[in-house]
């Protein structure tokens, strides 16, 4: 068993990089990728923490469902991105500003 902290450092790194990506990248699909990174960070945590309590598989089950949900999110997100592309001719979220105060 590897030191638990080493899993967690990686997951924290992935999560933070996800955050940086969603704030800085001016592209909807890039943001989607950032979200995937963040979800994976959580997954890594869950799997790693499952090692602390090997009698159950709770963490692994959770990560399984996370993956399923990630699929759904990606599908819905992509369909929305495509629609926005068709209607606004742009993939840059900042350029979508019909809705603002």
């Amino acid at each position: 068993m590897f030191p638990l902290q080493h899993f967690l450092y990686l997951s924290a790194l992935l999560f933070s990089i996800g955050l940086i990506i969603i704030i800085t990248k001016r592209n909807a699909i890039m943001i989607l990728l950032g979200i995937e990174l963040m979800l994976n960070a959580s997954n890594l945590n869950l799997v790693a923490f499952n090692q602390l309590n090997p009698s159950t598989l709770d963490g692994q089950f959770f990560s399984l469902f996370v993956i399923i949900v990630a699929v759904c999110e990606a599908a819905v997100g992509l369909s929305l991105v495509l629609r926005v592309y068709h209607e606004h001719k742009t993939s840059i979220p900042d350029e979508l500003n019909n809705l603002k105060d």
Partner: protein, 476 residues
């Protein structure tokens, strides 16, 4: 395999407590089928949805009357208790009203069957969310609500609709990713997914990582109820979505979110060390929501955005009830939630009626109240209740919520509770200024309006019953 059969027996027994949700699940499939087979028959689809929601509503009530004591279902995945049953009852009622609102414009709505599927999916997710006992269930039902909501936002099929949908999606999925990370930390620190009985929490309850995880988990709930600072999506989404959906969003997911938040925070605060109080976080968020909601609303010109900020502020008020962290406070929060459901729909019914005449801006209401007094009088009552002026139930609700806050203040003596108390009341004054703008325009500003409505309309009938409700709850 003795154990397994026991488990299966338990699961089989759970089903009898699960009838409303089963009805909803079956209803989803049914409506998909009807949509595929009889595409043109919008009335049938609406009727079907109405029946499904009514059935769920009905069985929910039956269930309440049958089973008083809380029960754990599906091997501890969810838990049926009075709190969740009441919230489910409210959400069903709200969905019924939404369906009725949609009925008035069903011919304008494209993809009607999918629309109802999404509505029912949100409702199902909300049901599950308020019953959840397990982090997996929380995550899944929250995602069910969210995914359906993203799509519902896009159901106005306009440029604004898709933009709103995408923004909602981006914001929502990031919020749930943060929440999920929080969940994973909580799981790691407690070794359990059952948040209502985190096993090892007492030893670890005050570690910084636990606080970080707890707060990140809360972020997802704050996002769901559109509490500041996780609120910015809501005005844009409300503006983009169709009116019934806005009304729906402002009530059902919010109630579900506040329900799970309450359960979650109660566990956290019961389990954590006495020298740290989650109350402070709730108070800060409530104050922030009140401020952001009320002050931003002052500037709005679009009625939907105005109502969006209003709902942010109202979340603040609901949070005040939770922040008291007293059984009575939760009780009053439920009462306020009931009132909130009634008054919010009261306003939205008429906003939809007038939106269909092309009135999106507040200024377009100029002088309409003089030619159509009845709708605006009802609407005025709704606004008065939202402000919290007597003689409406909004007043009673706020009074009760602030009473419990006061009680909590006297018990714990946290200064922040006092600030919240004063802040909340002052904010009630501020809210007056934007809520009364629509009636102000309608009654006082002169404008050329040839708009005429009948006195006997479906809206007025519905409105009257809500007004009676709002007034009745005051004089209960």
């Amino acid at each position: 395999m003795e154990v397994l059969s026991d488990k299966l027996e338990l699961i089989r027994m759970s089903v009898s407590f699960f009838i409303p949700e089963l009805i909803l699940s079956i209803g989803i499939i049914l409506i998909i089928l009807i949509g595929l087979l009889k595409k043109e028959s919008s009335t049938l689809i609406s009727l079907c949805s109405l029946i499904i929601v009514s059935l769920s509503f009905w069985f929910g009530i039956i269930q309440t009357s049958l089973h008083g004591a809380p029960v754990n279902l599906f091997l501890g995945m969810i838990r049926v208790d009075g709190f969740s049953t009441y919230l489910k009852f409210l959400m069903d009622a709200g969905t019924l009203l939404t369906v009725l609102m949609t009925w008035r414009r069903q011919n304008e709505q494209q993809h009607l069957s999918e629309y109802y599927v999404m509505i029912l999916a949100v409702l199902l997710g909300s049901h599950l969310l308020v019953m959840s006992k397990n982090l997996i269930m929380v995550f899944l039902s929250l995602e069910l609500i969210s995914i359906s909501s993203y799509i519902l936002t896009g159901f106005s099929f306009s440029r604004k609709g898709s933009e709103g949908g995408l923004k909602y999606f981006l914001f929502g999925s990031i919020a749930s990713a943060i929440m999920l990370y929080g969940f994973s930390l909580l799981y790691g620190l407690t070794g359990s997914l059952d948040f209502s009985s985190f096993i090892h929490i007492t030893t670890i309850g005050n570690s910084p990582l636990f606080l970080i995880g707890g707060f990140m988990a809360l972020v997802g709930f704050f996002y769901k109820i559109a509490a500041a600072p996780l609120h910015p999506w809501s005005p844009d989404v409300y503006e983009a979505a169709p009116m019934p959906v806005v009304a729906f969003f402002s009530v059902i997911p919010k109630l579900a979110g506040i329900g799970i938040l309450t359960k979650f925070i109660l566990t956290l605060s019961v389990m954590s060390q006495p020298d740290f109080s989650w109350q402070i976080i709730l108070c800060a968020v409530a104050m922030l929501s009140l401020t952001v909601g009320n002050f931003s609303a002052l500037w709005q010109k679009n009625v939907k955005r105005l109502m969006a900020y209003s709902s942010i502020a109202q979340s603040g008020f609901l949070l005040v009830g939770v922040a008291a962290l007293l059984p009575q406070g939760i009780h009053y929060m439920l009462f306020y939630a009931t009132v909130y459901m009634l008054m919010n729909f009261l306003v939205f019914i008429y906003l939809q009626q007038f939106e269909s005449r092309g009135m999106h801006e507040i200024s377009s209401f100029s002088g309409v109240g003089r030619t159509n007094p009845l709708p605006f009088i009802f609407m005025l009552i709704g606004f008065l209740s939202l402000i919290g002026l007597p003689p409406t139930a909004g007043f009673t609700g706020k009074l009760l919520i602030f009473s419990s806050l006061w009680e909590s203040l006297q018990q714990s003596g946290h200064a922040i509770l006092l600030y919240l108390f004063i802040f909340g009341l002052l904010n009630a004054v501020v809210s007056l200024f934007y809520y009364l703008r629509i009636p102000y325009y309608a009654f006082i500003k002169s404008g050329e309006s040839n708009l005429k409505t009948n006195i006997i309309t479906f809206e007025n009938f519905l409105g009257l019953s809500l007004v009676v409700g709002v007034l009745y709850l005051f004089f209960n």
